[in-house]
Each structure stands twice: as structure tokens, then as C-alpha cells.
């Protein structure tokens, strides 16, 4: 007897990435690697003041420096560049936008605000000439803390917003005041979600080639969304969109920092327009810290109401979200739509209210950073869950279980007005607890504590909103664009396939996973599919790669396009096989007459016949190609449960991360190896926020963590291995059931590690420590706890300071 062996399905297999050979051999081309005949080089002079009036700029000496082709200031851009638009105009929030000029006009609003640009024959000459520009400033008082900036009497940045409040947004659900009035227990905390610098390893940059004779612009740009760049660039420069080609070549990571169009992009294009030569601008890392958008920067005051037995009855909070000196492209939507609507997380919470103040401060503009709003919401909620557990003397896991939303497969309404697609939060929690042997771990913790060792355990649940669309919702919440994606699938006569997508992956591996989708749907070899992206002249419109949406939305567009192809191919097969279409079956790339598998046509046969078109059915067009524009009916909601184990050295305050376990559910996995890689990277970025990273400004607005020497991104020797597990709960509305995984790790890991550290400090009655949890801060918290007494180990048992 022979056993039929199903061929291994390519969807779901961890095949190697086809992106890698070019990246591994140094043959990939990033923006800074682009060289064009006659290429000139731009360098940007940036404000050394956080807040100042520009009294006078003298560029005469720079103009005559060796190799200099041009020196420009805001005055030169008049009538050529408009201000940079904010593209998320939150309705009902009294949003106050202000002119955001690519080159600052009369005043500067942050250290790094561009003031002038030099273009020269070489980058060194451009840098040299910057030193020869004289700018006279009249410094003004500055403000960097968002909560302070919103207080009366704070220095005002913009006449349009004299109180510095760019918007005030509110979300409410249920009767939150009643919940607090009747609460058995109320816990409160002030949380600072410190400002972070995204640190994609490739800094931002642009190469602009404007051809005066044709009025056409080609722009190579370090971007996550070339089609949005084309749209916005056309608005600002007046170059018609059809003459404007944006290419995102190889892009070295983004994490949200390559979504916005920043001043340098427009300045580079402007220089090329003025000089009629191609111009390149590449940030130095130090410049990147000032000029590319930052993330987070919330001050949160949170209170949670509950019954004595641990049922949450209300959540109320006020957030001051720093926006920086100007509103960046998508900035207003991040601490609001992507944050406030996720307030109740994976729990049944009957009443919520949040007030969010977006506040101008004299700092670099803030944008999306991996997770964008959702880590800040998850942190808040998971922190308060631990506080509640502590208050009523329950285990943190038990408190969560008392409030968790039961499993659902097809829609669950939550109090903020969202409808989650599918979830099994208890399943993820059970899996992670079993994996770490939670009860045994707690016993170990206790035994260690008896020996004077401080182990801490953090447990977090999360659910995130991603797969952004639908476009109708985008419009309703003020996003000035759509949120659909598109795909074209084209069969060539030889049976090879090109896929063209509007999204723009930059390290996530969709050239591979999208080929897997096509191979799975159409039965072609995965190696016969090539995915093209990142060039607006070659690809259909798409809104970009962020919000874990490329696979969730673009992947759906692709699946639908392949199914359209299959439908057409079946009709053609029936014609060629001279059988009724109802009698045609399909399996693994073959169409055959039911019951007569020998009478068949392969998809490659069909592709050839469709392309030569010798024998088409009446009314059928030639070619085998399909386009799909997919606008999702709902968001997707991945979720998971994570556990961290830390040890704190009470003598030094040093935190050692001993173990990290992630259970994530992003629906069916197209390529589990790539999913695992996304989780690793995401988790580590979130750990970075908990333990090491912060963009620090002094009170005058100087960026103290001004280079990679001062800003602590995680290094290889600072981390344990991350244990990655998963559960699979398909999205009911997605053609492949997939949800998205790019941000999951970051959303969960900051609070998980933070809660673990606070748990380790339980004997010292420490309830909060400002992030990042540096040894000094932890050490101080321990001392203060010990000094307060209250059963804490006495100071002299902790060793010498």
C-alpha cells in the first residue's frame, strides 16, 4: 500500500529569505549608496537653540567657500515650498496646527530645527561651509516637559496655540464617575513614558534628481511609504504627482521613524530644483537624533477603580503627550486613536475615560515608534493590574483572570467603541504560565528571597490594534489618506510571476512571505515568484508599511488578486479542455476534468495560452493578470501573554534579565522563522525602553543624549535568549486569517519587564520607579524603601553604597 504524501505546504514553512543574498554580499543599494552623474551634496545647518528668534542670517562667506554650489535659507524657498502639512487632523479636538516650514523662517522651535542648507561638490566641502554661516539668534525661554508646557505661564511656542495645547482629545465609555464613586478600591499612579529615539541603523537621507527640462523629479528616499511621500512632496513642491517618482531602495529599518516626511527631504528636493543637479543628503547619526522623529513622551496620570475581590469597574486617566516643536505627519493620531481606543485591552472594563492633551514642546517632533500608542496603553493597564493585585493581596495572574475577556471567534465589542475580531487571551496566558511553570517559579522566587536574593516575575497580557484600515474609519478619525493596499499579480508567458505591491517593506521579509502566499494560492514554485515594491512608477498605489499592516492589509490584497487569477484560469481551462466549468477541479496548480485527472492544464499552460491568446473563449481578454485593492472591513487584533524574570542586585541596583518568554497570536503564520525574528527584535526594543533608553533634554532644551555614545540601545551582551511561542486564532474577516506581528513584542515587553522589576522590589515597598530602570534609580528606590522601614530589609543588610 502506498501512502500519498501531501507536498509540504509552502504557506507556514520557514523558508529562507530571498532578500538575504544581496544584503549579505554588500550588493544591496540603500539611499546613501546611490551615485548619479553630477551628484552634489547637501549639509544642513541646524539651530543650536531650543527656542529662539532668528534675527539675521549671513551666508556670504559660505557662498564663496571652495566647492560650494549654493547656500539657501527660508527666504529662498518662498513661493516654491509650502509648509509641511500635518496629515492627521483629529476631529473634535480643537486641533491647532502651525506653519511647519522646511527651513525655519523667523523662529526656531527645537535644537536641530533646520536654518540653512549648503550644497557643494563634496560632502566634506558642504560640512566645511556650514561653519561659515553666521546666524544671529535671540534666545527665548524653552520648555521640554509636556505636562509643564501645558501649565499656565509656560513659554509659548506658537501664536496659534498660546497654551501650547495642540489638541485635546477625549474617549469615554460607560459611567466612569459612578464607578469611582462606588469603588471598594482605587489605585493611582503617575507614569512617565519617556521619550525614545528610534535608531534605525540606517539614518535618514534622500537623493533628489530634478530635471528642469521636463519638470520631473526622481527621489530616492529612506521611507516606509513611498506613495505617501509622492503625494505630500507634490503638495509641498507643486511638482505634479505624475511627474514625481519616489523610490524607496533598500531601507535599513524604520520602526516608525521613516513614516513622516521630515524637513531634510523637502530641503534636498528644493536644492535639486534650484541647482538643476542631483543632490544627496544623508544624516549623520548625531543629526538623526535631532532631525528624525522621536517616539513616546507621555506623562500619564492613571487611576483604576475595582471591587475588593479584584473586578475592575473603571479606568480614568489624563495624558500629556509631547508633540515636539511641530506636529509631524501622523503625530496627532498616535496618542489618541492608536492609544486611547485600546485602553481596556484584553479585559472587560465597564467604564473608561481618557483625556489626552497633545502639547507643543521645544523638542524634536514626535511620531510613531514601534507600537505607536499601544505600548503606552498596554503599559498603563498592565501596571494598574499589578497595583490592584498588590492592593488587594491577590496574585497578579488571578487579578487578570478575573477581568479577562472570554474567548471569541467572531467579534467582540469593547467599551471604547471598537470591535475586536477574535481572541483567546486565556489560551495565551495559560500557555505562557505552563511554559514557565508559574507556581514553581513563584516558589523559587520565595526561596531566593529567603536567601537575600531579589527575583521578580512580570506577567502581561496585551491586545493590539493593527492592520490599519478600514479607510472609512481613517476618514472619520481625521487621517488625511486612505488605508487600503493594492497588489498586481502578473503571469508571464513562461509561467513566472511578478507581484507588484504598494506597501513598502524594509527588513520585514515580505518579498519572501508574499511569494509564499502566491505559491500557496496558485500552485507555482515559490522561486517562480518575484515581489516588486518600493518604486511609485513600478507599483500600484499603497499607503505604506507601518502599524503591522503590510501582511494584514497588503497580504489580503495579494490573496484576493491571486484568487481572481484562479477564477480566470479556470474559465480558460474549461475552454481549452472542452469541459463545462462546473466540471473543472483544481489542485496544486492543476486544473483538470473531474474524475479524469489526466485531462488537465497546469497553471503554467494556462499562463502561456492566456498570453499568446490564440484560443480564448468568447469575450475573455488576453493576459493572466489581476489587480486588487483591498480595504479591510475591520482592524485586526493580535494578542499575547508575556513573562519576564529578573534579578535585582540590591547593592548596586543592577537589573539582570534572566528569562523572557513570549506567547503571541498573530493568526496563521506564513513563515514562522520570520515571525520569530519579528518577536525577537520587537521584544528587545521594548526591553530597551524599560531598562536603558531615554532621550534626555535639559531644562533649556539641549539634547543631552545627543549621540549613539550617550543613548543606550541594547547590545548583544545585555540580553538573554527570548523564548518564543505562539497560539493561532485566525482573524475572521481576513482572507488568510492573518493579523500582523511587527509591533507585538514591543507592545508587551516594556511593561512585562517593568512589572518584574517592581515585583523584585516588593520587600522594599517600591511602587514605581521612573523608566529607564537604571541601576542608580533602582538603587535609590531600594534605599528609600529601606529607610521607610515598613518591614523592608534594613539598610545594613544591603551592603555598602
Amino acid at each position: 500500500m502506498t501512502v500519498a504524501v501531501e507536498p509540504a505546504r509552502v504557506f507556514g514553512s520557514g523558508i529562507r529569505r530571498r532578500e538575504d543574498p544581496r544584503l549579505l554580499t554588500g550588493t544591496a543599494r540603500y539611499t546613501d549608496d546611490i551615485v548619479l552623474p553630477g551628484l552634489a551634496h547637501a549639509a544642513i545647518l541646524r539651530s543650536p537653540h531650543a527656542h529662539a528668534l532668528i534675527m539675521r542670517i549671513d551666508t556670504s562667506r559660505a557662498r564663496t567657500a571652495p566647492g560650494v554650489l549654493g547656500v539657501f535659507t527660508a527666504a529662498d524657498t518662498d513661493g516654491i515650498l509650502t509648509p509641511i502639512p500635518c496629515c492627521w487632523l483629529l476631529p473634535g479636538s480643537k486641533l491647532k496646527t502651525t506653519p511647519y516650514h522646511p527651513l525655519a523662517k523667523d523662529a526656531v522651535q527645537y535644537v536641530g530645527d533646520p536654518v540653512a542648507v549648503v550644497v557643494a561638490e563634496s560632502p566634506y566641502q558642504a560640512q566645511d561651509a556650514l561653519e561659515l554661516i553666521d546666524v544671529e539668534y535671540e534666545p527665548l525661554p524653552a520648555v521640554v516637559d509636556p505636562q509643564k508646557a501645558a501649565q499656565q505661564g509656560a513659554p509659548a511656542l506658537h501664536a496659534e496655540a498660546p497654551d501650547n495645547v495642540a489638541f485635546h482629545w477625549t474617549v469615554t465609555g460607560g459611567d466612569v464617575d459612578a464607578a469611582f464613586k462606588c469603588a471598594d478600591v482605587i489605585v493611582r499612579e503617575r507614569i512617565v513614558q519617556q521619550r525614545l529615539i528610534p535608531n534605525a541603523m540606517e539614518t535618514r537621507g534622500a537623493v533628489a534628481q530634478f530635471v528642469p527640462a521636463t519638470g520631473e523629479l526622481t527621489l530616492w528616499n529612506t521611507t516606509q511609504n513611498p506613495h505617501i511621500v509622492r503625494f505630500v512632496m507634490s503638495l509641498v513642491t507643486g511638482i505634479p504627482e505624475d511627474r514625481l517618482r519616489v523610490i524607496a531602495p533598500e531601507v535599513g529599518g524604520g520602526f516608525g521613524s521613516k513614516i513622516a516626511q521630515i524637513p531634510g527631504d523637502f530641503i534636498t528636493v528644493f536644492c535639486s530644483m534650484k541647482l538643476g543637479r542631483p543632490v544627496k543628503w544623508t544624516e549623520t547619526r548625531t543629526e538623526n537624533y535631532q532631525s528624525t522623529t522621536h517616539g513616546r513622551d507621555h506623562v500619564q496620570e492613571v487611576e483604576l477603580a475595582a471591587t475588593r475581590d479584584g473586578r475592575v469597574t473603571g479606568l480614568r486617566c489624563t495624558v500629556w503627550a509631547g508633540m515636539g516643536g511641530y506636529l509631524s505627519t501622523a503625530a496627532p493620531g498616535i496618542p489618541t486613536i492608536l492609544h486611547g481606543l485600546m485602553l481596556s485591552g484584553p479585559y472587560t472594563i465597564p467604564a473608561v475615560k481618557e483625556d489626552v492633551y497633545g502639547v507643543y514642546t521645544n523638542t524634536t517632533p514626535v511620531e510613531a515608534y514601534r507600537g505607536a500608542g499601544r505600548p503606552e496603553a498596554t503599559f498603563m493597564l498592565e501596571r494598574m493590574m499589578d497595583r490592584l493585585a498588590d492592593e488587594i493581596g491577590l496574585d497578579p495572574v488571578d487579578v487578570r483572570r478575573r477581568n479577562i475577556i472570554p474567548p471569541f471567534q467572531n467579534g467582540h465589542d469593547v467599551i471604547t467603541g471598537l470591535k475586536y475580531d477574535s481572541g483567546n487571551y486565556e489560551g495565551a496566558l495559560a500557555k505562557v504560565l505552563e511554559h514557565v511553570s508559574y507556581d514553581a517559579l513563584r516558589a523559587e522566587q520565595k526561596a531566593a528571597r529567603d536567601k537575600g536574593r531579589y527575583i521578580g516575575i512580570g506577567v502581561s497580557l496585551y491586545v493590539e490594534i493593527c492592520g490599519l484600515g478600514p479607510s472609512q474609519v481613517a476618514g472619520a478619525v481625521g487621517f488625511q489618506g486612505g488605508l487600503w493596499e493594492s497588489a498586481i499579480v502578473r503571469f508571464h508567458p513562461s509561467g513566472k510571476v511578478n507581484v507588484f505591491i504598494g506597501a513598502s517593506p524594509h527588513g520585514q521579509g515580505e518579498e519572501t512571505t508574499f511569494a509564499q502566499i502566491v505559491a500557496d494560492e496558485l500552485g507555482v514554485a515559490v522561486t517562480d515568484v518575484k515581489v516588486v515594491h518600493g518604486d511609485t512608477d513600478a507599483t500600484p498605489m499603497g499607503w505604506g508599511t507601518y502599524g503591522s499592516r503590510t501582511t494584514a492589509v497588503g497580504g489580503a490584497a495579494l490573496a484576493i488578486a491571486t484568487r481572481k487569477i484562479k477564477d480566470k484560469a479556470k474559465l480558460l481551462a474549461s475552454h481549452l479542455l472542452e469541459a463545462a466549468v462546473e466540471d473543472i477541479d483544481y489542485s496544486s496548480g492543476r486544473f483538470f476534468v473531474r474524475g479524469v485527472p489526466d485531462r488537465h492544464k497546469t497553471i503554467q499552460d494556462i499562463a502561456l495560452m492566456a498570453n499568446v491568446a490564440w484560443n480564448m473563449p468568447e469575450g475573455m481578454e488576453a493576459g493572466l493578470e489581476a489587480t486588487s485593492f483591498y480595504d479591510p472591513p475591520n482592524f485586526t487584533y493580535p494578542f499575547g501573554a508575556h513573562v519576564a524574570v529578573v534579578e535585582v542586585d540590591p547593592e548596586t541596583g543592577h537589573v539582570t534579565l534572566k528569562r523572557y518568554v513570549a506567547v503571541d497570536d498573530c493568526g496563521p503564520q506564513i513563515n514562522p522563522v520570520i515571525v520569530e525574528g519579528q518577536v525577537h527584535g520587537g521584544v528587545v526594543q521594548g526591553i530597551g525602553q524599560a531598562l536603558w533608553e531615554e532621550a534626555v533634554y535639559d531644562d533649556t532644551g539641549q539634547l543631552l543624549t545627543g549621540s549613539l555614545a550617550d543613548y543606550a540601545i541594547p547590545r548583544a551582551d545585555m540580553l538573554p535568549d527570548i523564548e518564543v511561542l505562539s497560539t493561532v486564532t485566525p482573524s475572521p474577516h481576513h482572507p488568510l486569517g492573518v493579523k500582523g506581528i511587527g509591533e507585538a513584542g514591543t507592545i508587551a515587553s516594556t511593561c512585562t519587564v517593568y512589572n518584574a522589576v517592581i515585583d523584585a522590589l516588593e520587600p522594599f515597598k517600591v511602587q514605581s520607579v521612573r523608566m529607564p530602570l537604571t541601576p542608580e534609580r533602582v538603587w535609590r528606590a531600594i534605599r528609600e524603601g529601606a529607610e521607610r522601614g515598613a518591614g523592608a530589609p534594613p539598610l545594613d543588610t544591603l551592603g555598602a553604597p
Binding site: 532578500e19 549579505l24 521584544v683 549613539l708
Partner: protein
């Protein structure tokens, strides 16, 4: 003032007249046209610019091109021959040791230097050896696996 230098890169001699202040990394990228070597910072932290100078791993942004006069450099472009990936490159591919790829040339060359001196490194040794090479995408875990896999493929031989 221009200085004449001769620097051998991946076995080929490049004779150029350079400004004395020119950094080696700019020589590689701009004068030799070998853009595989990346620049990720301006404070010698990130390791994206790592190359081998006379067999020793070094950050090419910390060295003047003039100092490398007469030296022999290996860059990422010099590792694979005839379209065949070198074992370290194969290992990074097999173990998903890269995502955006920007840190990868530096990581691969730092790995090569590590395996020269420590043909069978432990995970701790690998993490320690690569602490000067930053990666923002992978969380390093698959890079460690890649290095271990490379060591195994190379049978403990440097």
C-alpha cells in the same frame, strides 16, 4: 594638499590621491565605490563600518585612509567568490541572522574575526565579541545562532 595612497581592497590595489582627513570608510565607499561597508554613526559605536585591516577587525570610520596606506583591507564584497556565499554568509542566511541588512556587513566581518581567534565560541563569547556591533532589528538572538552555525559549518577551523 593631496596625498597619494595605495590601499589593497579584496586583493585589488587602489591608487588614489586623497585629502589627508579622508576617513577610510569614505575611501572604501566613495573612492573605491565599494558601498557594502555601511555608516551607522559618527561616534565609533555602531560597528556598521567594520572591515578587516590586515586580517584584524576594525571600525573603518575610526581610521584615516592615509593611515591605511599600504594595508590590505577585506570588505563584505570580498568574502564571496564566484557568486558562492562564504560559510559565514551562508550561516546568517540559514539562521535568519538579518532583517534590514544594514548592520550585516559589519556583523559578518566581526564574526569572521571572532572565528579566526575562537573557532568554537560559546553564546556568551559571541555576545561579548559582538557588543561593538549594533543591530536594531534582530534582537541579536539569530545573529548568535548564525555565528554558532558558521562555526559548526567551518568545523572549528578558522
Amino acid at each position: 594638499m593631496k596625498l597619494p595612497v595605495t590601499i589593497t581592497i579584496n586583493g585589488r590595489a587602489y591608487q588614489r590621491e586623497i585629502e589627508p582627513r579622508l576617513l577610510l570608510v569614505h575611501f572604501l565607499r566613495d573612492m573605491a565605490g565599494l558601498t557594502g561597508t555601511k555608516i551607522g554613526c559618527d561616534t565609533s559605536q555602531c560597528g556598521a563600518c567594520t572591515v578587516l585591516l590586515d586580517g584584524v577587525a576594525m571600525k573603518s570610520c575610526t581610521c584615516l585612509a592615509a593611515q591605511a596606506d599600504g594595508a590590505s583591507i577585506t570588505t563584505i564584497e570580498g568574502l564571496s567568490a564566484d557568486g558562492q556565499l562564504a560559510p559565514i554568509q551562508e550561516a546568517f542566511w540559514a539562521k535568519h541572522g538579518l532583517q534590514c541588512g544594514f548592520c550585516t556587513p559589519g556583523m559578518v566581518l566581526a564574526t569572521r574575526a571572532l572565528l579566526e581567534t575562537t573557532p568554537q565560541p560559546t553564546p556568551e563569547q559571541i555576545r561579548h565579541a559582538l557588543e561593538g556591533n549594533m543591530c536594531r532589528c534582530t534582537g541579536y538572538q539569530n545573529i548568535v545562532r548564525s555565528v554558532q552555525h558558521a562555526a559548526n559549518m567551518m568545523g572549528g577551523r578558522p
